[in-house]
Structures are given as C-alpha cells and as structure tokens.
C-alpha cells in the first residue's frame, strides 16, 4: 500500500503550499513538544532545584513548590513520550 503524503510529493517535485504550511506548523509543534516535554531536561531541572536548595539559594517552601511542579511536568513528559509525535496526518488518504 502506498501512502502519498507531502514528503513523497516533495520528492516528486510537487509542492502544495497548503501541505507545506501544515508541514512547517507540524515541525514547529513537534519541536515545542520536544523542548517542553523533554524528560531528560526536566530531570536536570529537578536535580538543579535540589542543588539550589542545598546551597541555600532556595527556601524549603520554594524548593518543595518547584519540585511538585517539576515532578508533575515529568509525568506529563513521560506520557507524551509514550505517544508517537512523529505520526503524520494522512490528509490525502491512501491508494
């Protein structure tokens, strides 16, 4: 089964402005997701938050508040990671 999408059309030298725009928006969205929901970066922020508390740059309240938010974000990120962000919308259907 051959699925025609914007990537194949582009390989064939066919450019559809609407698909190009959608593709660009999709890339931006995926990039934003990866930045916001990158588990590794969030884990680093959790460790940094702990270190700032240990160096007394944060009060216990500030540390605990930030930690709760970051742990929540990490759970979200792990769920997002389970979703396939690379899945493409097949606008033209398949033939």
């Amino acid at each position: 089964m051959l699925i025609i999408d914007d990537v194949i059309l582009r390989m064939l030298g066919i450019s559809l402005p609407v698909l190009d725009l959608l593709w660009t928006l999709e890339q931006i969205q995926n990039y934003a997701y990866r930045e916001t929901y990158n588990p590794e970066k969030i884990r680093n922020r959790i460790k940094e938050n702990r270190l700032l508390f240990e160096f007394e740059e944060l009060s216990r309240e500030e540390y605990e508040r930030a930690n709760i938010d970051l742990m929540h974000l990490l759970k979200m990120a792990e769920r997002v990671g389970d979703m396939n962000l690379g899945m493409r919308t097949d606008l033209l259907g398949s033939i």
Partner: protein, 224 residues
Amino acid sequence: MARRVRRPEGGQQDTAKYVYCVIRSTGGKESFGEIGYDGKEVYTLDYRDFSPVVTDSPYKEYGMDESEVEVHRNVIQCVMKDHDVLPVAYGMAFKSKKLLTVAMSVGYEAMKKALRAVEGKHELGIKVFLPKGVLTDHQEEIAKVYREGFQEIASEHKDLSLFSERLLLNTAFLVERGRIDEFSARVGELSAKHGDLKVQYSGPWPPYNFVDIHILGKKRKGFR
C-alpha cells in the same frame, strides 16, 4: 525506577524479598534491626560466599517516593558501617527467595569482580557550582584543577552529568577508607583557594557509581 511486581493469582498475598545490597557472606543470618520498609527486619540470606541484604516485603510497586528512597539509602548506609557493600538499585524486589537465588547465580561472577574492585573503598562526591550571576570562560580549567587535585588521592573517578549550566564539576571518586581524611583535607585546600565557588562534598557513600551489574534485563541497572 519502579519495579512492578504482580500478585499471584488466587488472591493469596505472597511476600517478596526486597534487596538493598549484597555483602560478603557473614556465615549465617545477620540482622541489622527493624529498619526496612514498614519497620520490617533487615537481614541477610546466603548464596555461596555472598549475602543479599533483604526485607520481607509485600508485593508492591516502588515509585519515586522520596521517603521510600530514603529508607533504601539508610539501610545501605547502616550496612556499610561494618561491611563492604555492592549497592542494589532502588526498587528491586523478587517474588520469592528462589528467584533471588537465580539472580544471584546469574550475577555471581560479575559480583565477585565488582566487590574485588570496591573492597575497602568508599565513594565520595564533589560538586563545584558557580555562584549566582557569575559566568566564566575558564570553566574547563577550573574543573580540571579540581579533578586532578582529587585524582591523586582517589583510586578511580567517574564524571557525572553536568545538569546545570552553573555546575562546573560533578564527579564521584572511589577512595580507600584510609585515605578519606587526606581527601577531605584536599577539599578544604581547594575550597579555600577558590573561595568564590560553591563546593558540595558528600559521602562516604556506597560505590553507587562504580558498580554496574545488569542481570536479567538490559535497560535497568541492578537486579531484576
């Protein structure tokens, strides 16, 4: 990481063996007191010349709960007062003693080798942190000065992740028990020399970063 342990069918609640660490055989059961999960006894089992340090614990999922991680850490700290330990990753429970024996058998040679490497040594951690609002172009050089200063004393070192832009050095050192005071003195000297930097010196820890045994699985560290 959490380990999911399933209850057996039929509703009967079985108990798992939760493993904290492995030590050289004590030649019989040794109890470390009721310091395990739910105030349960921490004791040794025997497998050839090794003894896994365990608690009888109901099947459950061990999540990233700070207080539970703390229990795990405290038990190992307690055991390492009198023994060289091979720390086991947090959350490792076995459905039965038999399964634990199987894991011990699979990992026996790796454990022997690992214990030889860390015997008589402790892990010490050093983090060097830039003060707030201070950036420097000499981060690498400063880190090198610290690392080399400690390497002279340590048997081994392992650079860990620099998880913050302000973190110049995050390194674990494996140090012979008899040289810990010398190491501490070096921390004092370097801290005094670079008084503007924040230094976190921690330990002695079990050799968490120098034991990496994978048994019955590829992704997680420790036992399964």
